[in-house]
Symmetry: C2
Subunit: 307 residues, 2 copies
């Protein structure tokens, strides 16, 4: 099932045509406030009323011309300012490839630096997404340079990669912000855990290692980018066992998935942040979300039905 | 499947009759060197040649008369001395109920203390097994008192219990030896994780918290009491990521299960200890092993066939 969705995500013909179908438009509504940042910000205001802050991301991946990156950066600048104008507790998350990483890494660095500077004027942060494994090392190296100049930045790491335990230790001296996700790309068994329970165990071990570092005085912000509520609650138990409060990490879930749980967790004293994705390039992103969590597929099928 | 075996383990009628059947005798041979401690020690010598040390345990559970405990303690004294006479790197593991814990806790404490003193004269250790949840708190309290007087003692904790993260923190100041198992009793969802992947995630988080404590200078001996080789290798990765050697924990597997893996792990530089159980009271113990790992059932069925 997972592999099917990942294949669909990469299929160019479908990527072009599927998003135009009316049933696709209906299906996607569940997972994002459609395509414009105004809609994303309206959704954010609703979350804020329930004590849930947001992380905004404009969908889009690899570019063909570097000028496209300039437009994406400008869009993020408007997004950061617009959220501040609405008094939202809104951070943003960017994909490096969407800002020209394949074409001109120096220009990408310039763009992300400017976004971080702009976010800092509003007391906000900028996160870097993690992409498939050919980008892991270069993205971490990018983040090392970025966060040295801009402490208000974070990075996403993936629990399914064998290397992640060492990557966390590597970043700890930099007072990092780390969002840990399970991982959504198809990666080979030589570098990534394959079985769900192996990925879960890796996830738990990595979070405990970050919590222990925090307890020892490391300045680290921890984001749990997962919808696995049982795992989140288990890790809350671990945090409290070592004497850390429930607020020593932030739960970061995607828009539209387990909203009831987000509200409940926020009520129970968890820090909760909703990741609101928007934009026209939603098709591959959306299918990776389905690949991650088969239960989502049922929701989607239900949304596609006309009654 | 798991519940069926646990029910069979508790069934008194079967407990009485099943062990006498010839096919049962054949089946059990796979998991233990029959019923006498001489056989257990011969098996231990074989392991030692392959770089694998042992942990000896005489099977037996709750008693009806306290005098039985005295006989069990005497048997353990002979076991400790016998292993030393053969120059085995052999520790022993006892169940408190087998030493009268239900009848006279002070006498149990006396017995275990004497075993620890005897083991210490040979440079060896004594482990306390963990039983079902009504015994958890009292067993931990017993260990706190025991290890204060006898540092060469260890305790088994169970990853499926919600409380274990806090129990580990509670024991850390005592320079403990902790063998972590997943847990083999039927415990309710109010106190124990039920899903295999939840137990695995808990296990990983708990081991990382012990490794981190060790890294911070806590004097702790860590035993991984599991046959889950993927999980062991993952945790080895975690240990090395935080700068600890592979030898910062010991892998403790049961006799007869995954011998090939024990030998391989020992060759790859892991500390490996084989838990050799023997004795006539093998029936409930044996069925709990089957409940833990359905793959064992196939082995057993194969052993039972007469050809």
């Amino acid at each position: 099932m997972r592999r099917i969705f990942l294949w669909l995500a990469g299929n160019a013909w479908l990527r072009e045509r599927f998003p135009r179908l009316p049933l696709a438009q209906r299906a996607v509504g569940r997972f994002m406030p459609r395509e414009h940042h105004e809609a994303a910000q309206r959704a954010s205001t609703d979350f804020q009323r329930q004590g849930i802050s947001v992380l905004l991301t404009r969908l889009g991946e690899n570019l063909t011309h570097i000028q496209e990156a300039d437009a994406v950066a400008a869009e993020y600048q408007r997004l950061i300012d617009g959220a501040a104008a609405r008094s939202l507790d809104a951070q943003v998350s960017v994909k490096l490839t969407q800002l020209g990483f394949d074409l001109d890494q120096e220009r990408t660095f310039q763009h992300v630096s400017e976004l971080a500077t702009r976010a800092a004027t509003h007391g906000q942060s900028v996160w870097i997404d993690m992409e498939s494994s050919p980008y892991t090392e270069s993205t971490i190296a990018f983040y090392e340079r970025l966060t040295a100049a801009h402490p208000n930045t974070g990075i996403c790491l993936q629990a399914y990669l064998h290397r992640t335990a060492a990557d966390i230790q590597r970043l700890l001296p930099l007072s990092p912000a780390i969002r840990l996700v399970k991982g959504a790309y198809a990666e080979p068994a030589t570098i990534a855990w394959q079985a769900k329970r192996e990925v879960d165990a890796s996830y738990a071990g990595l979070v405990v290692s970050m919590l222990e570092a925090k307890k020892q005085g490391t300045d680290i912000r921890i984001g749990l980018g997962t919808h696995d509520v049982a795992l989140i609650e288990q890790l809350d138990g671990q945090a409290r066992a070592i004497g850390l409060p429930r607020t020593s990490f932030e739960v970061q879930m995607l828009y539209g998935i387990r909203v009831d749980q987000q509200v409940r967790l926020a009520r129970e004293g968890y820090l909760v942040r909703d990741l609101v994705a928007y934009g026209e390039a939603w098709y591959p992103w959306y299918l990776r979300r389905l690949a991650e969590r088969p239960a989502n597929v049922l929701f989607v099928l239900r949304q596609m039905l006309p009654w």
